[in-house]
Symmetry: C2
Subunit: 186 residues, 2 copies
DNA sequence: CCAGTAAGTCAACAACTGTTGACTTCGACG
DNA sequence: CGTCGAAGTCAACAGTTGTTGACTTACTGG
């Protein structure tokens, strides 16, 4: 039992990160204050900067996330949505890092750039495995629909969308993803 | 010739409103400062509040816009996108009020509510004219795709999307709108 | 038991924000 | 010409924000 501090450093650091994600996720970047995050954890604001040096760095760390999209090479077109959508739901609803980034991307160029990187490094390559042609355009179109869904459902909370189940959404959106990835527009 | 002031009140008022739209549109609500708007017009900050009383009221007026969606009753399904998309492009690119609202909606509950009202009062009713059934769900899905497109193209500036022409986008997105409005998911 | 170090607090700073009230400028009109 | 009201400025306020540096607390290893 090497250490048993009343509160180990890693513990409060993680707590601060969680609180930051929650605040950034519901209030966005500018409306989230260091003091509020600190007080959520019951700690002095100075400690937050001691651990994360900056509001900007705190945000950067809070907004890091991995989609973990599976390899799509052997997935038949009709099952693309069944494979993809659950991953999106997971990132949107469980991991707390997506919403902060989405909200902040709307008004902060830096956050927008970060979101663009997530798309370029995680989404586009995975989708390239199944795109018929014009892979970058197809991936971007899928991204626009997916992002629009997240924005409408979690940020705007458009009533019908916010209340639908995962299954209902998959049935509606599935054919669209399949179309964007594999079909040629008329 | 009743009035010929060097700068009539209505003129500077309109100039302030324009500057506000531009600032809100590119920087979002919180990062837009009264002082910056005032200085864009070459005027004292106090004058801005004299005309608009509040930052919040200034934003409210700057973010008002009308979609002017046409009556869709006699539009055949295959031409829905040809009729709808040009209106969206017009509001996105010419009128300066859409982007401020979209950006602000991401981090301000009030702005989100305003955007929801635009959807409920202007988009949903117009689309109800052609929706096969579940009109509210179908309208919301169209809204999610349209919003996602705007977000990706104008806020995030996803490269392929930002560079595509109106015609290219219409060809890709058109079938999706048609599907959401008229087809049953499999 | 005691010193060292990590964990945390405290008060304060400088900058910036929205907003206010009193003042000035100036064109129009009787 | 003189005055009246609109158009606009000025300086300043009160509050909030991120960030800093010096200080205190408390656990642990020797």
């Amino acid at each position: 039992m090497p250490e048993r501090r009343a509160r180990s450093a890693v513990t409060t650091r993680a707590a601060i990160l969680d609180a930051a994600r929650a605040r950034f996720g519901t209030n966005g970047y500018e409306r989230t204050t260091m003091r509020a995050v600190a007080s959520d954890v019951g700690v002095d604001p100075a400690l937050v900067v001691r651990y994360f040096t900056n509001k900007e760095s705190l945000f950067a760390e809070a907004a890091e996330f991995e989609l973990h999209l599976p390899d799509l090479h052997d997935v038949p077109a009709q099952e693309l949505a069944t494979v993809l959508m659950p991953r999106f739901f997971a990132v949107w609803e469980n991991d707390g890092a997506f919403l902060p980034l989405l909200r902040a991307a709307a008004s902060s160029p830096r956050a927008a750039e970060a979101m663009l990187q997530v798309f370029a490094r995680q989404v586009a390559p995975a989708l390239a495995a199944v795109a018929a042609d014009h892979a970058d355009e197809r991936a971007a179109l899928v991204g626009s629909q997916v992002l629009g869904l997240a924005f409408s459902r979690y940020v705007l909370r458009v009533p019908p969308l916010a209340d639908m189940t995962h299954e209902q959404l998959m049935r509606w959106v599935g054919p669209v993803l399949e179309y964007y990835l594999t079909t040629d527009p008329r």
